[in-house]
């Protein structure tokens, strides 16, 4: 009985199973692909010369639009890199003639609309988005931002503050560093394609620069407007004509973008970053443009090598070796200038070299042997079957039309490309891989912690270091005029007199100071015992006792060493600069700067003098009006994590040391906040210090 029941159930399920046989994927038959609807945007030219592309879509009660402007950050002046991006940001945030940016924020967000402005390498945009019923309000603000930006100073300051923080933060996340450094190497660090914005650039950017950049490039004939969404195209055309009727600015045609000129810079590069457990790499060379006749073959070749889970690099380096989570090769073609061919990814520090070698092997393979029939078929199938996703939304057709027009591509380029994809052969893949993936041109950029590498990076080639140090901002040095320079010299002379007289100071050959410094809790809360010994203008030695051990620094002004409980190392550039600064700022010598023709002495306030050297050192000294003695010294220094900070030392408790008055109390401030307080124990001059004693390692 029981058995029968079970049999019946089994039979039942068997019958069910037969009725619904599950095929394998190879047995599946597909109906033909559904019809793709390709919308045709309405094109027109407004009477002011602005070209418009309109495409209706009534699925949702939304409207959006954007102008594409012929400009780009390639037009940044070399001494004001970053200007165009700041201009674009402030174009929106700085408001219009009639309304501040803050007012626009409220007006737009009250109706859940937006107007934005952006800058790319070879184009700029101003865009809007709104619910259908707010179309007119959003369009009116869009027009004002585009045609009447006010560039208010407070928002320029905001953008520059943000850009400065961006520079300070650019080495925080390792994945961006490798790509950025490869870009600089491939395009040349001194070209608009490869340079990066530094503090000194930002210091040069002013409101009139933003206005001049805007005026040069933002005029009707230099832009194309696309509008998409829930509207009637004929009505919209009239609306736009009316809206922009009074904007008739003209400018000469915009010149072509600069050419890419950098020669190949192959080799192995390393940027050291001690706080990571992986090595991030970006390996590449200059690539090509989309209009290249081999574009389709190159994409197929790069895809077989490293795009998606089916690719060779993913199969080998990720799946088989387990060396990487992220690894990809990409033929990144540009519209109008050579793009790049790149292999990017990351692996644990230990397997850095093995991973690079595995990549090199795969690269060799695709250049030596034809790909298999299946690989080619899979890659083409993926591209051709997925081709329909180019038409997922009508908005894609609209922006494609504008882009093709902007870069001078034929209207049917997407279909030409489809055809070319279908025609790619194994011979094509081999030919383009040999011609365009050139190992001898490859720059191998790594960012990581070489102490943990399993093998020496030099295994794969001679290693060239990349210095990630962020250049400090150029300090504002007021050159002043003869009068202010004379006043500055007078203030120095008065201070020298107050300290004991110029002759006394000039007779100083060396000095030694011991102090005990209590740091504020925010600066570590520790107490440091420190002895500084200086001979002449160059020889510098400082010994410190810290809670975690002793440290010593020595410099002859050009090189030096740094001794820590962990060992001795060559002096890093930033510390060398700090040492030179300390020597330079020593009161006995800095007050005699009037005698040194390589220094500029300039009064920048009633009782303030700036002293600067030709090689980049600078200090501001405030003098006590009553006594004439130096009250404080202020200067910039690489602070924690390399970001520059403002340091101020305030002097008090003046005592006599062999006929020279010196401060026995020094309060240290960093960026306006108290960081510590030093009490001097002894301060001596001319004790006959010897260079060899200073240079002696502990």
């Amino acid at each position: 009985m029981k058995r029968t029941l079970i049999a019946a159930i089994l039979l039942g399920s068997l019958a069910f199973g037969q009725g619904t046989k599950i095929p394998t994927y190879k047995e599946l038959k597909y109906p033909p692909m559904g019809q793709v609807k390709i919308p045709e945007p309405v094109q027109a030219t407004l009477s002011n010369g602005m070209r418009v592309f309109l495409l209706e879509n009534h699925e949702l009660p939304l409207i959006s639009g954007s102008v594409m402007v012929r400009t780009g950050n390639l037009f940044d002046p070399a001494d004001k890199k970053g200007l165009s991006s700041i201009m674009a940001e402030v174009m929106r945030s700085g408001g219009t003639k009639a309304k501040s940016g803050d007012q626009l924020d409220v007006e737009l967000e009250n109706i859940a609309a937006s107007v934005e402005s952006g800058m790319d390498e070879t184009s700029a945009s101003v865009s809007f988005s709104a619910l259908k019923e707010s179309t007119d309000t959003a369009l009116a603000i869009f027009k004002e931002v585009l045609t009447n930006p006010e560039f208010r100073q407070d928002k320029i300051d905001l953008s520059i503050t943000q850009a400065r923080s961006g520079i300070a933060r650019r080495n925080d996340e390792p994945d961006g560093i490798a790509d950025r450094e490869l870009q600089r190497i491939l395009y040349g660090p001194n070209t608009p394609y490869g340079w990066q914005v530094e503090y000194t650039d930002l210091a040069n950017i002013h409101r009139e620069d933003l206005q001049a950049f805007y005026r040069r490039y933002y005029f009707p004939k230099n832009m194309m407007l696309e509008v998409y969404g829930d509207f009637n195209a004929a009505e919209m055309k009239d609306k736009l004509e009316k809206l922009f009727a009074d904007w008739k600015v003209e400018q000469p045609a915009v010149p072509a973008f600069p050419k890419v000129t950098a020669p190949a810079a192959p080799g192995v590069y390393l940027a050291e970053k001690p706080d990571v457990t992986q090595t991030f790499f970006s390996i590449g060379e200059l690539g090509g443009v989309r209009s290249d006749p081999d574009y389709a073959s190159l994409e197929v070749a790069a895809n077989i090598l490293g795009e998606g889970f089916t690719s060779r690099l993913v199969k080998e380096v990720r799946t088989k070796l387990g060396y990487a989570y992220n690894i990809a090769a990409v033929w990144s073609a540009q519209w109008d200038h050579p793009g790049t061919f790149r292999i990017v990814g990351s692996t644990k520090s230990m397997t850095t070299i093995e991973t690079i070698q595995a990549i090199q092997t795969e690269l060799q393979k695709i250049r030596m042997e034809p790909v298999t029939d299946k690989e080619l078929q899979d890659a083409k199938d993926a591209a051709l079957n997925g081709f329909v996703f180019n038409f997922a939304s009508p908005a894609q057709t609209l922006s494609r039309a504008v882009r093709y027009e902007y870069y001078g591509y034929p209207k049917d380029f997407v279909f030409t490309y489809q055809k070319a994809l279908g025609a790619v052969t194994k011979a094509d893949v081999l030919r383009v891989a040999q011609a365009r993936f050139k190992p001898e041109n490859l720059a191998i950029v790594t960012v990581g912690n070489p102490k943990d590498f399993g093998k020496q990076l030099s295994t794969v080639g001679k290693v060239m270091p990349i210095d990630l140090t962020i250049p400090e901002p150029k300090q504002e040095i007021a050159a002043g005029d003869a009068a202010s320079q004379d006043r500055g010299k007078a203030l120095l002379a008065r201070a020298a007199q107050a300290m004991g007289g110029t002759d006394k100071l000039a007779a100083v050959k060396d000095w030694t100071r011991s102090l005990s410094m209590v740091m504020e809790p925010s600066a570590g809360g520790i107490t440091v015992k420190e002895t500084t010994r200086i001979i002449g203008a160059d020889q510098f030695r400082q010994d410190q006792e810290l809670p975690f051990g002793k440290m010593a620094v020595y410099s002859d002004g050009k090189t030096g060493w740094l001794a820590t409980p962990q060992g001795t190392m060559a002096m890093p550039a930033e510390i060398l600069k700090q040492a030179r600064g300390e020597t330079f700022r020593g009161l006995a010598s800095v007050l005699l700067s009037s005698r040194d023709t390589s220094r500029t002495v300039n009064a920048v306030g009633q009782n303030t003098v700036q002293v600067s050297t030709t090689d980049g050192l600078s200090v501001k000294i405030d003098f006590d009006a009553a006594t004439g003695l130096p009250a404080s010294e202020s200067y910039q220094e690489a602070g924690q994590n390399g970001a520059p900070s403002e340091v101020m030392e305030t002097f008090s408790d003046w005592r006599d040391s062999g006929g020279i008055k010196v401060p026995f109390k020094v309060v240290l401030q960093q960026d306006g906040k108290k960081a510590g307080e030093a009490t001097v124990a002894t301060f001596q001059f001319n004790t006959g210090l010897k260079t060899e004693d200073l240079a002696k390692k502990p």
Partner: protein, 500 residues
Amino acid sequence: MRVRFLLFLLPALLAAQSLKDFEKKVTKFTLANGLTFLVIERHDAPIVSFHTYVDVGSVDDPTGRTGLAHMFEHMAFKGTPTIGTKDWAAEKKALDKVEEIYDMLEAEENKGFRADKKKVDSIKADLNGAIEKAESFVVVNEFDQVVESNGGVGMNADTSEDHTEFFYSLPSNRIELWWLLESERFLNPVFREFYKERDVVREERRMRTESSPVGKLVEVMLSTAFEAHPYKNAPIGWASDIESFRRTEAEAFYKKYYVPSNITIAIAGDVNPADAKKMAEKYFGRIPKGPESPRVRTVEPVQVGEKRAGVASPAQPFLLIGYKRPDQYSADDAALDVLNDILSDGRTGIIYKEMIRDSKIAVGAESIPGFPGGKYPSLFLFFVAPSQGHSIEENEKAIDAIIERMKTQAVDAESLQRVKTKLRASLIRKLDSNSGLASELATYEANYGDWRKLFTELDDYNKVTADDVMRVAKAYLTKDTRTVAYTYAPAKASAAGDAK
């Protein structure tokens, strides 16, 4: 006056209209085994998107096996007895052999200091040999290859604290391929290449967490803020747990949680609901009904005082402040969302205006209403990146001052209305892509038992008053229940300059 009134009302009308229109496009059905489907018709283009939402997340990771839910997510791409193998019978034998040897290895290693090192090494060598043998039967990444060569795009998956999701899109004429593959991967998954994939996941942790200052900080935030509830473990898992995962553990996990009643699938695009029902029966009807999965019982105890945690990092400073808040089913959920938007949505958010725009003490500052998840009591989180030259302390004080104001001053009517208008508009903007629709509807259906909640939660928002906002700020943004995590510069080996 009249115009104003209309403008005020319009967004509400629009949303109601969207729901009515939308209901016509959505078909919901549940199979006998408990698996729920949502079909959203959108025939404009011959493409279709799939979103599989599984009600299992890292909160369900077994003790000592953090990251296992995420590890299974990786294994769901490894194929089946028919996909990804050259010879299943032989491969199965080889895979079993791997486990047999691994058992021996663990037995020896478990002896701790008494373990025989030579024996361990010798078993390890055997293990590597067995793994290599098993790999010799593998057709690498065949599952991915089939999807890709059929034009599949956007294929990926995601594991969070609360859920696991799998998604991609196909040309709609190939929809049956998805029915086949998706049902097979959850009916007959084969955990091949498990130990290599374990290495890959370990690399993922190195990349996302260990090498990223923010990644590290978030991990410390979670493990400090939560003492008992599994939200204390990030979904990626702890390094040593990952390094010791066993295939058998992942299989047991899969059997426990990948039962049909935990799965909600949304299909959006060029799809016919009647065909979908037939296909669902044919392919997913095969999956047997399973027992209900166990659920997390641990309740995070009430926090009894502020906690602080520092992470030494050479990066520029970051600050996180997390306040304990109830789960997403709380009656206060809508008010907390509105409070969040008033604080940090767009350029009119208070935090942006005061800290970024006006005082310029931060380059990035925002709040997140529910972190790291919503199904269990979580955190109302503030994230701040101070601008250059400005400190963590200064920014913490600024956030404190803003919070204090939210507790004592009612938000003005214009700001409140603005937030509600933006919430409605953002819903409409979510409806314009297949993949977005599939993801949203599957998520709402799985989380609230009804996808309509995506639309009806606007009513909840609309009911929130200025008093409600003040009340929830007072109730939850309290010092004693918060955790502050921040980075600070490590003591540096720099002598000159730092101390004078």
